[in-house]
């Protein structure tokens, strides 16, 4: 079959854990945008959802840090954080070992990846799932890009990961949905939490939505760190989605800086029918 859905979304823990600190209209409008993304995703009737995230030391640490890791479990669990702190109850999340294995084997033809049969989801995946699969009834395949422990891989490798993933999806019989989740500019869990560079965010989202590969890959980590903070390194997840959907543009359905959530809250959906590749009926 093929990729049937692709998009990007924010995952900051404040989105669910610190809702009381945000203006009600900010919180409600962003949650509504997330719900709209869920509706669009469900309309494509996916068999599984790949979530490309950037975890925060829930599973992977500097003793053995994979640049890219793909889940290969029958199931996962999350959130690893305190339920009250995150505002999300603990769940067993269904995986799909067989599909994961096939995807991993195909991706490995082009990009080296690690695999993990055990994976505890942190807010980086649980916040999106809380909105997109609230009944936890869709098979999830997690992918992690190391965005926390430098050295980080070049942006071009994240784009290549996305391209490899697209080839893998196109060769599987299942209907696959794909979501990349990360911050754009943000300085999370620091004294600067709440700082957002809206100019950087809008510039980056414009380039991402137009899928301008050369401009996406022209960012350097020095530039990102200076303009978008250490949280900005997570643009790798958006770039991987761009790689998976080369040839297609996207719609930014929602963007609004919400400082109590510590990020410019974003929902973007790719117009997959433009991708010029196989599409599912």
């Amino acid at each position: 079959m093929a990729l049937v859905f692709a998009g990007v979304c924010s995952h900051a823990p404040g989105i669910t854990g610190r809702t009381h600190l945000a203006k009600p209209e900010d919180k409600d409008s962003f949650h509504a945008a997330y719900d709209g993304m869920r509706v669009s995703l469900e309309e494509t009737r996916p068999d599984a959802l790949i979530v490309i995230g950037a975890e925060h030391f829930a599973n992977f640490f500097m003793n053995n840090m994979p640049t890219f890791a793909i889940g290969m479990g029958d199931s996962y669990e999350g959130p690893i954080e305190d339920e009250a702190w995150l505002g999300i109850k603990k769940h067993k999340v269904p995986g799909n070992r067989d599909l994961s294995t096939r995807l991993i084997q195909r991706v490995m033809q082009d990009v080296d990846v690690s695999y993990a049969e055990e994976w505890k989801f942190d807010h980086g995946i649980m916040v999106p799932l809380n909105f997109l699969t609230p009944r936890y009834d869709l098979d999830i395949i997690p992918i992690n890009i190391n965005c926390q422990g430098p050295p980080l891989s070049p942006l071009a490798r994240s784009y290549a990961l996305g391209q490899a993933l697209r080839r893998a999806c196109d060769e599987t019989p299942e209907r696959i949905a794909l979501v990349g989740t990360g911050g754009i500019s943000h300085w999370p869990a620091t004294p600067n939490s709440g700082k957002i560079n809206e100019d950087f965010d809008r510039e980056f989202l414009g380039i991402w939505a137009a899928n301008k590969k050369s401009e996406l890959l022209a960012y350097t980590d020095e530039d990102i760190y200076r303009r978008a903070g250490q949280g900005g390194f997570e643009i790798r997840t958006f770039i991987a989605v761009a790689g998976a959907t080369a040839g297609a543009t996207a719609d930014i359905r929602y963007y609004r800086p919400i400082p109590p959530f510590a990020v410019g809250c974003t929902i973007g959906v790719v117009n997959l029918q433009q991708a010029g590749m196989r599409t599912a009926a």
């Binding site: 702190w85 869990a189 004294p191």
Partner: protein
């Protein structure tokens, strides 16, 4: 190795129930398992969230330790600011404080 094992301890504490149990029942014994400096041990024990931040602990690890120790979010943010005021700029890592 400075900082690496401090962060490793917090990583394990955040994700491993057995480490959490040992933290509560045998804190000194837990510290013995990691190659920590005297300053790091003191900062963990007090706890001095501000000093842990200045030592370079990644915020994604530190915010959970602060929550475990009962810090509300605004108090966690303030403790890092206080730490920088008291101990100087962040000494390592990528979670530095910048001008707003």
């Amino acid at each position: 190795m400075i900082l690496y094992y401090l962060q490793k301890l917090l990583f394990q504490l955040n994700r491993d129930p057995a480490t959490r149990k040992q933290y509560e029942s045998d804190f000194d014994g837990l510290l013995m398992e990691y190659d920590l400096t005297h300053e790091e041990k003191e900062a963990l024990g007090k706890p001095d969230i501000g000093l842990l931040y200045v030592l370079g602990v990644n915020g994604q690890l530190l915010m959970h330790y602060a929550a475990l120790k009962g810090y509300a979010w605004p108090d966690y943010i303030q403790s890092m600011k206080d730490g920088v005021a008291q101990h100087g700029p962040v000494r390592a890592g990528i979670y530095t404080m910048v001008e707003d």
